[in-house]
């Protein structure tokens, strides 16, 4: 009931990702400017795009929660944002490694993807803090949804503004633009992107299934033993 189709999804994800990275290392030509280091592009950029979409999806789920007041939407938003935040950490770290490998600096202020993610990461770091600071479950969910909507709208705007600010002064350095890429690189990139998206969806369903199962067990326990093992401590995660 929970997590149906999860196995097929996971398999598909594994296949796509393996295919993508096999292509990256065995088929795709090296970048003319940066050489071998550019391969990180096939990891860093798909993570970034999927994370950005995840944050926006979180905002949409939050809006749905506000509209329907159904706690499940809040859970969907929480998981989406949670996963995107993990991906954001990955984006920042891989981006930093790439910057060091290609340009000798651990950070580049004129790389809009990196800078945007730094801001977005700092913003969403407050999500858990906010949730944790509100005890009443219903209000926690409501406020978290407001945050998700606000932050979800902020993500694309922030990206656009940062890009405007940086490209005005410096040319793009890490070459994360997909314009002017030769065919083979584009194909590999798209497969890597698909794989990363599948990974996100798989993990999302996985975590949703897990949280739903926990909720059911708790309900069963309540019915059976009359004791709500309920966490005596406050949590930031939504419970159904």
């Amino acid at each position: 009931m929970h997590g149906k189709g999860l196995r097929t999804l996971a398999l598909l994800t594994a296949l796509t990702l393996t295919a993508a990275y096999a292509l990256v290392f065995f088929w795709t030509p090296n970048d003319a400017d940066q050489g071998f280091v550019q391969k990180i592009f096939y990891l860093h950029v798909p993570m970034a795009i999927v994370a950005l979409c995840g944050f926006v999806a979180g905002g949409i789920f939050g809006a749905m929660h506000l509209r329907t007041r159904d706690g499940r939407w809040d859970l969907r938003a929480y998981v989406a944002i949670h996963l995107s935040q993990i991906l954001a950490v990955g984006v920042l770290v891989t981006g930093s490694i790439w910057a060091k490998g290609a340009w000798g600096h651990w950070w580049l202020w004129d790389e809009p993807m990196l800078v945007s993610f730094l801001i977005v990461f700092l913003l969403y770091a407050t999500y858990q803090v906010l949730r944790f600071s509100i005890e009443d479950r219903e209000r926690q969910a409501r406020y978290a949804s407001v945050f998700a909507v606000l932050a979800g709208a902020f993500v694309p705007i922030n990206f656009a503004v940062v890009r405007m600010a940086e490209s005005y002064v410096h040319p793009r350095t890490l070459g994360t633009t997909t314009g002017g890429m030769p065919g083979e690189m584009m194909l590999t990139f798209l497969i890597a992107l698909a794989g990363m998206a599948l990974l996100f969806v798989t993990l999302w369903k996985y975590e949703m299934a897990s949280k739903n199962a926990v909720a059911e067990v708790r309900a069963l326990r309540l019915r059976l033993l009359g004791d709500d093992d309920a966490l005596p401590r406050r949590t930031a995660a939504p419970t159904l």
Partner: protein, 224 residues
């Protein structure tokens, strides 16, 4: 709704006039920040980008001070309950608070900008004053639109004073970018340059988008 907004705004302005709780502190804080910048940057005068940056950071931090206090009266003295019993559009509270903050910021800037011109600024402000006021207003609008919403989110949580700056600062970075990019040419070393239209447009769009979002979600914050 306009009458409701007017009534709440009038109440807040009167309150501030009588108690003088926020604005003097914000103004002093802004000027002190400017002085700290002088020592931190170790320069007698500033121009261009640096001047614009220092100016806007000072305003931003002063605004943070104001944000923490924006809804305090309502929260501590049951104003929220009274407000929700009234048969008015709940978003009017948001609009009124945003406008009140705007008024406070305007007063703070009216004090801090001349102080800045005297203490730190190299080029003269007089020729660019109208444009500067325009940019200040656009930037302030951004700060107030987002700030009032974040303040409302934070006021009902336990870690209120921490949550508000944590939320507001990243959200306001585009405003800082736009405002500084728009202000810098006005304060340029060799004489003022024309205003960059794209940044004014960006600021305006940001203000519009977040005003619309705040308008849509504010109701949900006041439920209980």
């Amino acid at each position: 709704m306009l009458t409701a907004v007017g009534a709440i705004l009038r109440k807040d302005l009167l309150l501030e006039l009588r108690t003088r709780e926020s604005v003097p502190a914000m103004a002093i804080f802004a000027v002190t920040t400017l002085v700290v910048f002088h020592f931190a940057l170790d320069r007698p005068t500033l121009a261009g980008d640096l001047a614009a940056g220092v100016l806007w950071v000072s305003f931003l931090f002063a605004a943070m001070l104001g944000l923490n206090r924006l809804f305090v009266a309502e929260e501590e003295q049951g104003g929220f309950d009274g407000f929700m019993l009234a048969p008015i559009d709940r978003t009017s509270l948001y609009v009124a608070k945003a406008l009140a903050l705007l008024a406070f910021l305007a007063i703070v800037q009216a004090i801090a900008v001349p102080a800045f011109a005297i203490l730190l600024l190299d080029p003269s402000l007089w020729p660019v004053l109208p444009e500067l006021v325009g940019v200040l207003l656009l930037g302030d609008a951004g700060i107030c639109v987002v700030g009032a919403l974040v303040s409302a989110i934070g006021i009902r949580t336990r870690a209120r004073d921490l949550i508000v700056p944590l939320l507001a600062l990243p959200l306001l970075i585009p405003v800082v970018i736009g405002a500084v990019e728009a202000t810098a040419p006005l304060l340029a070393e060799g004489g003022a340059e024309p205003l960059p239209g794209r940044w004014l447009l960006t600021l305006g769009l940001y203000d519009a988008v977040f005003a619309a979002i705040a308008y849509a979600v504010f109701d949900d914050l006041l439920e209980d």
